[in-house]
Subunit: 169 residues, 2 copies
DNA sequence: GTAGTAATGTTATATTATAACTTGTAATAT
DNA sequence: ATATTACAAGTTATAATATAACATTACTAC
């Protein structure tokens, strides 16, 4: 077992072999789509690839611009529909604080992650949120509230930027 | 001690003496502003009052419309500036999932709450998030990420709407 | 191959938010 | 009291984000 993710810092914040990282996620996504009977069509796949180019979140219009330059439709719904599909099925996460989208790089597309947003470099990491989710569910449940969807976003400084003094990336 | 809030369901989801609820919060806000040297000016106070009319979140333009009808400026910055001020100082919370604002009804304006958003009736409750915040801080910290701001939003059904079968309010 | 369904393309517009500058108001120092 | 300063409110304009509605194309099941 080469990696035991539980106590590893998120790769998003460390130098790593990103082209491998990207390929792995994409392959996993393809498999997941096939298994679930989801249609990971060319645009959708391309949007995922674009988001996977780095660990930053991109706005819908930024994605759209890329698509347009590559010959896809140039109207907002093109990007929004692909992003909505990807988000609905857990391939990407919507970062509400940024009105932007980031590719999910975790192995599971099920439970919602804890998003770690670096305010200096803009990179977004994901921590497993299962424990937190359970706990929040319990707190809410004690108040009679049943949680259906959960979003947890932390804004702060990633290790690298904290080392830089928090000023820049 | 009349109420021990820790294991009480949020009043937002139960019938209660709302005019008392509202007055209490407003009085506490005034006190807080005075103590902190914050200028709770007429527009700002009025915006807080408007949000306090019920436990739902309102969009900035909805607030603006109210202000305009009451003779205040009718341009977006009027509303946004008041809302930004109130949010910066914890008098209201921005509900990112809704792009809307809800008055904070907790006694403390310090730590970030866990927002409970009912998808059926639109009411928003707040649970104390201190424990959760600590835990998230720990998880992030273990990855070298230092959390500065945290947002936790749960979408689901409040007790009343769950009893209704989740269809309406 | 036809019918039904889902995805894409396109036009138009709605919604949310901010920049930049002007005018007013309140606190502070003299 | 009045000049100075700083902050708040008003105004104009526009930027950024998102969706509705409908036409066309592609895939799927029969």
């Amino acid at each position: 077992m080469a990696s035991k993710n539980r106590e590893m810092p998120d790769p998003a914040f460390r130098p790593h072999d990103h082209s491998r990282c990207r390929r792995k996620v994409l392959a996993a996504a393809s498999r997941h789509a096939r298994d679930q009977g989801l249609r990971l069509t060319p645009v959708r796949r391309r949007v995922l690839e674009i988001l996977l180019e780095n660990h930053r979140a991109m706005g819908a219009y930024e994605v759209l611009e890329r698509l347009a330059r590559e010959g896809w439709g140039a109207q907002p719904p093109i990007a929004y529909r692909a992003l909505d599909f990807l988000a609905r099925h857990g391939f990407v996460h919507k970062v509400r604080r940024l009105n932007a989208y980031v590719a999910c790089t975790r192995s599971t597309h099920s439970d919602p992650p804890l998003l770690l947003i670096c305010r200096a470099c803009g990179r977004v990491g994901e921590a497993e949120g299962a424990g937190i989710s359970r706990e929040i569910g319990a707190i809410a449940g004690a108040r009679g509230f049943s949680v259906e969807r959960l979003g947890v976003e932390a804004l702060g400084l990633c290790p690298a930027c904290a080392a830089d003094g928090g000023a820049g990336a």
